[in-house]
Symmetry: C2
Subunit: 304 residues, 2 copies
């Protein structure tokens, strides 16, 4: 697994949307925020296009991605936001060309579909970070911005620590050192059965989601369980489950019950409560990087 | 593909829940409605058990299914309702024993997970019909009940016709005669990547759903498209899409656009608008049976 070159002051970065369109009024502050990080944003057409709920049609959005990778003047790619639609682009990506031009790539949520493919099919590390049109077009806490800067500028090795006062929970003890994979549960479930299916074999699997009833979380974890993804992985790391309440609390399994029924039986080292996902403050993660997790000591460290 | 023996007056039928629990007050009228059809209901434990949103835990619900198939005094099985949870049971089903005891099996919605497995892995036809604790515990229109009786008593061959005034729509013309597969889109998407994945090769694929935002329908159809399920099938038959509105109508693709982008490009004969799914009146379908569809003439006929 290749670690792409980190960004640097003045680096030209593509700003694009693989999924939904940037809400009105957010593009300019997002551009300003990227400049404030010392980078030079290049606004791609998907930042201003519209097709239904998409930031332009599939051909336009996939074209932006293909061009951003092959353009030698672009040092890295920032997905402006998530939303919905990245997995529609997978048949349209020029993966051999992307693999030949690995570069810094970042985002999360719907962007998970792209992380998986760039890690698995193109062989380079990508970054699960906050996005300019979702979070940092407006002021964001120092913890989050510090992790973003570490991701952008090649300093994400070392311990990953939750903010003070946010303890991790051990669901299954044990230690694992493995390549990190995963991201948004909805997108990982949506990858199954396709040529771009998440491969968890021997890897540490990170999961998070937002805005799903608990029975939907149950359903997607059941699909992953049925597909052998917990059996095959080396460990599980659970992040934020934002706005995932039960439809009817009197007749529901709650998330800890669901994890106990669907993830714990696989017996892999499992930590819950990582401050990562659709939450602030949030840390950043190197997908495809090597991470060491001690689920007894409740520690995490990025090795490469 | 084996057609199980049809039911007959006085046949003992298992009433059970593979998914969610029967709502309070519906079991007795459901039992009475089955008796009114001339059948003798045998109430299995899952009709009165509760575990979170499930009708008892996975072991109890799977046990009911395994016993209902192997008990020689039971002539057929009626799923009392859908809801959520059938695909959790798949690893717990005794498929060799079920294959050795094919019998009438009916339901729809969440029950799709079981239809797929009984058709593909156990080799017998099952019935996509209304359910006693969902619809016919209270009076239901004659059209729906007529199709239910045809399914129950072995008379579902011949034309499938929408109620008067509900025209079909041709999305792609052409004719196909093939085994019918499919059901609820959410459950079909959730089968992908698992040992119980829907196989659409050379088959006519029926799809319907309820209560999903259009972007979720888009997402699930994209997963099926990415998995090659439209490329591999022989034709597509679209049923009811009940309460599937766009979250934001001003910035959404609508269902016809989504079908045009994701299903039509496969070029397989495709009809939309079948009165089947979470809707009344609804017709019944033999999953695994052979159906002839003329998408130009907009006709459907069950051959076996």
């Amino acid at each position: 697994m290749l670690s792409p070159n980190p960004l640097y002051p003045g680096a030209r970065v593509a700003l694009l949307c693989a999924s939904s369109a940037i809400p009105e009024g957010r593009l300019e502050p997002a551009v300003a925020a990227i400049r404030a990080l010392g980078l030079e944003p290049v606004v791609f057409p998907s930042c201003t296009a519209l097709h239904g709920y998409f930031a332009g049609d599939d051909i336009l959005r996939a074209g932006d991605l293909n061009r951003a990778f092959t353009d030698p003047s672009i040092a890295g790619i920032l997905c402006a936001r998530g939303g919905y639609g990245a997995h529609r682009l997978l048949p349209l990506l020029n993966l051999p060309e992307i693999a030949a031009h690995p570069k810094f790539f970042s985002g999360y949520s719907d962007v998970t579909a792209l992380h998986t493919v760039f890690n698995q099919d193109c062989g380079f590390v990508t970054y699960h970070t906050v996005m300019p049109a979702t979070e940092y077009y407006e002021p964001v806490d120092d913890y989050t911005m510090s992790y973003l800067r570490r991701a952008l500028f090649g300093a994400l090795t070392g311990p990953l620590k939750n903010p003070a006062g946010q303890p991790l929970q051990t669901l299954v003890g044990g230690r694992v050192t493995a390549h990190l994979c995963g991201g948004n549960l909805s997108l990982l479930a949506a990858s199954l059965g396709t040529p771009w299916e998440i491969d968890t074999c021997g890897k540490l699997l990170f999961l998070e989601d937002i805005g799903e009833d608990t029975y939907r979380i149950d359903g997607m974890l059941t699909q992953l369980r049925n597909a052998g993804k917990f059996r095959d992985c080396a460990g599980v790391l659970l992040g934020a489950w934002t706005d995932c309440p039960p439809e009817n609390p009197d007749r529901a399994l709650l998330l800890p019950d669901i994890f106990a029924e669907l993830i714990v039986p696989a017996g892999k080292p499992t930590l819950a409560g990582l401050a990562c996902g659709h939450t602030l403050p949030t840390l950043s993660l190197p997908l495809g990087g090597v991470v060491s997790m001690d689920a007894d000591a409740q520690t995490l460290e990025v090795l490469t």
